[in-house]
């Protein structure tokens, strides 16, 4: 009971993050670091970057999952004590980026880890990262949703795509 209370009420105000780069270009990593600096100061929300995954509550994963990093990233995940939350930072981590289909890249972070929250952007602005964390912590609402637009086509009949069909769209 006490533990549930602590996790729900205290943990969001003291989120220690461990930053894991899985093959990123540095852009996201620098922005993650930038979030700690005076203009954005993530520490005011209790967010702290820690050096050992044992101390972490959240994993910030950036970059596409390369074949070489995947096992190491899995070990990082295992080394984090429960409860833990995984953030995918940047377009590479959310969807594999422009290397999504190259021979050494497995795809986005969710190919290897159970990702809880995604922060797209290339790189995401520090504000976007803050927004992502704030959204995950329930401080601000989510602002994106699927865009689905159909041309106003006079007399032509429109066939609505079935939900499952939509998802199949060649997302290799």
């Amino acid at each position: 009971m006490i533990r549930d209370w602590l996790i729900q009420k205290v943990l969001p105000r003291s989120l220690w993050v461990y930053h894991t780069n899985c093959g990123a270009c540095n852009g996201c990593d620098i922005e993650v670091l930038d979030v700690l600096t005076p203009y954005y100061d993530a520490e005011r929300f209790g967010i702290k970057v820690v050096g050992s995954p044992r101390h972490a509550d959240a994993l910030l994963v950036s970059g596409p999952m390369t074949r070489q990093t995947a096992p190491a990233v899995r070990r990082v995940y295992e080394a984090v004590p429960d409860p833990k939350v995984v953030f995918a930072i940047g377009s590479c981590a959310t969807g594999g980026g422009m290397w999504h289909d190259t021979y050494n890249v497995l795809g986005g972070a969710d190919q290897v880890l159970p990702v809880d929250f995604y922060v797209p952007g290339c790189p995401p602005r520090p504000e976007a990262i803050l927004h992502g964390i704030a959204t995950a912590l329930g401080l601000t609402p989510k602002e994106v949703h699927a865009l689905h637009a159909i041309q106003e086509a006079d007399e032509v009949e429109i066939e609505e795509l079935a939900e499952e069909q939509r998802l199949v769209h060649e997302r290799e």
Binding site: E31, V49, M98
Partner: protein, 560 residues
């Protein structure tokens, strides 16, 4: 030394084996030599003529020539000449004499050649896998044309890179792949006795994303700049700029002068924010978080400025073959000047405070020593080389963009230690500010982008080098068919500088290792690869982990 003298002296050395010579604008020399003479040619260039080795590229030309094209690049920095030594290795016998014993800095490049193209460097002292992941099959070489980008072979086991054996009485400290001071995955195995470093091993290339493969077959000329700038999240503009310049040189495209100036402005803005960033990261590494916070606070307006000017905080999306995509409007000059003035004021205070800070000096002085000889051997670049007394700077040696019309200098320190590299960066920052001011003041009017009407014909070569904040970024493009390059080779400065780490950290203590590594401002994603070359290769025993465990057990059995 002019292209003529180089050709002449090489001709004297290798004679008939010099098959072909082409020059371009008196600053580019393309030679073709017989495979048997490639070591002699490298020796003549590197050891006799004191050229700087740049990189080796391997190209699959089996369809056209029935051979693999191996190219070693050298640079005559004082004379503004890049030399490419082409060799064709027949496809039936993909083996070539390794130049590493002659040119130590080629160690990684030849290992990479073996990995990605399957051309065996014969006589290489350390022929371990470099680039490909541990679970990659031995006989598959991704840069060959018959390998498709999207192929991802089933994982195999037992291919872990064999590690050097741990010296007696030492412990292996795994600095990475995930380590707080490394913002990217890469794995230094540092062997320490007590806390004194007695050796190291390296397994990098965790960030290998197959960029060159994308650029060699899949993407069109104008898609690549966007891939190129994502080679590195800090010096992205450098890569897209160098790539575009290489294509422009190959295709003979005249870039409007205004575009050159705009590129110069952004290159220097990038250097500015990169050096501020580095100062902060280095301070963070040695636990000086206040300095980290303050330099990054100073840096943030540059990022906002870049976002305003380019639409992205990282200056992504500016370069395109033929020029740049956005102009710098005249009303932005004031904004730029305001940001520059702020930084200049604060930076001056900082640069004055640093040498007087005794605790800071204590951490920087006399650690991570890189001798000038070592710097030349590993072909160190940028501030790393300039901190060891080597005056090389592409902006001055091989002027590009608008640098030929601007005044600049390259500060050099003789110390060779971490402090020297720090001082070089401290001195470079105001120079970058001055260059931006000059460029803005002298910027000519006109278009920012050349119209390209004709297709780029295949078989042309272009070399471009840009002085990134970390040193020379080298791009070579060989044009191909279907609006796509046949080969695009990138050599980021960290690729060369990283090979100096082993020498730099040896004898230091563990506490200095992070700042030693940090002092070359490593960018692993640029390098896309890494391992420390071992100059004692003769004595080095390479064992697999299994062998090692086995031998330890035997040792215990026999009571040694």
């Amino acid at each position: 030394m002019t292209v003529e003298t180089i050709t002449e002296r090489l001709g004297q050395r290798v004679g008939e084996a010099l098959l072909d010579t082409r020059t371009h604008k008196e600053t580019r020399l393309y030679l073709t030599v017989d495979p048997a003479a490639v070591v002699d040619a490298a020796d003549e260039l590197f050891n006799r003529m004191q050229a700087r080795y740049v990189i080796t590229a391997a190209t699959d030309q089996r369809r056209d020539h029935g051979a693999y094209l191996i190219t070693h690049f050298f640079s005559f920095d004082a004379d503004d000449v890049y030399v490419a030594v082409h060799t064709r290795v027949p496809e039936g016998n993909p083996r070539i004499d390794a130049i590493t014993p002659t040119v130590p800095g080629a160690g990684w490049a030849e290992r990479e050649m073996r990995d990605v193209m399957g051309v065996e460097p014969v006589g290489h002292p350390d022929p371990r896998r470099l680039v490909l992941p541990d679970d990659w099959p031995e006989d598959l070489h991704p840069l060959r044309c018959d390998f498709s980008t999207a192929d991802s072979p089933a994982p195999v086991t037992g291919m872990e890179m064999p590690m050097k054996d741990i010296p007696e009485g030492a412990v292996m400290v795994p600095v990475g792949p995930y380590f707080p001071t490394q913002h990217e995955p890469e794995s230094f195995a540092v062997f320490v006795e007590g806390e004194t470093v007695v050796g190291s091993d390296y397994r990098g290339f965790y960030n290998h994303r197959g960029i060159e493969k994308l650029g060699c077959s899949d993407l069109t000329y104008n898609q690549i700049p966007f891939v190129a700038e994502r080679i590195c999240g800090i010096c992205g503009f450098v890569h897209s700029c160098a790539y575009c310049m290489a294509v422009e040189e190959a295709a003979g495209i005249e870039v409007p002068r205004r575009a050159d100036y705009i590129r110069t402005v952004f290159l220097e803005l990038e250097r500015l924010h990169s050096h501020l960033l580095w100062t902060g990261v280095a301070a963070h590494i040695i636990g000086f978080d206040t300095l980290f916070m303050q330099t990054w606070r100073m840096r943030e307006p540059v990022m906002w400025l870049c976002e305003k000017l380019t639409g992205n905080r990282k200056t992504y999306g500016m370069n395109i073959v033929g020029g740049v995509r956005r102009d710098i409007p005249d009303d932005a000059h004031d904004d730029i000047e305001r940001v520059l003035a702020d930084i200049e004021r604060e930076w001056t205070a900082l640069a004055e405070a640093v040498p007087g800070d005794r605790t800071l000096m204590a951490r920087l002085r006399d650690v991570g020593y890189l001798s000038p000889e070592e710097a030349r051997n590993v072909c160190a670049l940028g501030p790393t080389a300039r901190g060891s007394g080597k005056r090389i700077d592409v902006r001055i040696d091989h002027p590009y963009a608008a640098y030929d019309e601007l005044e600049l200098s390259a500060p050099v320190e003789e110390g060779g230690d971490t402090l020297a590299r720090t001082l070089v960066r401290l001195a470079e920052t105001p120079i970058a500010i001055s260059i931006i001011r000059q460029a803005l003041a002298r910027m000519p009017d006109g278009p920012v982008r050349a119209e390209i009407d004709e297709d780029i014909s295949p078989g042309l070569e272009g070399i471009a080098a840009v002085e990134a904040p970390r040193g020379e970024s080298f791009h070579w493009v060989l044009t191909g068919e279907n609006n796509r390059p046949a080969r695009w080779r990138v050599r980021a400065p960290t690729y060369a500088n990283l090979q100096a780490i082993d020498a730099m950290i040896k004898g230091d203590v563990l506490a200095d290792v992070p700042i030693d590594i940090g002092s070359i401002d490593p960018c692993y994603s640029c390098t896309d690869r890494m391992t420390v070359i071992d100059r004692r290769s003769g004595q080095m025993r390479v064992m697999t982990r299994e062998e090692m465990l086995g031998s330890r057990q035997t040792a215990e059995h026999t009571g040694t």
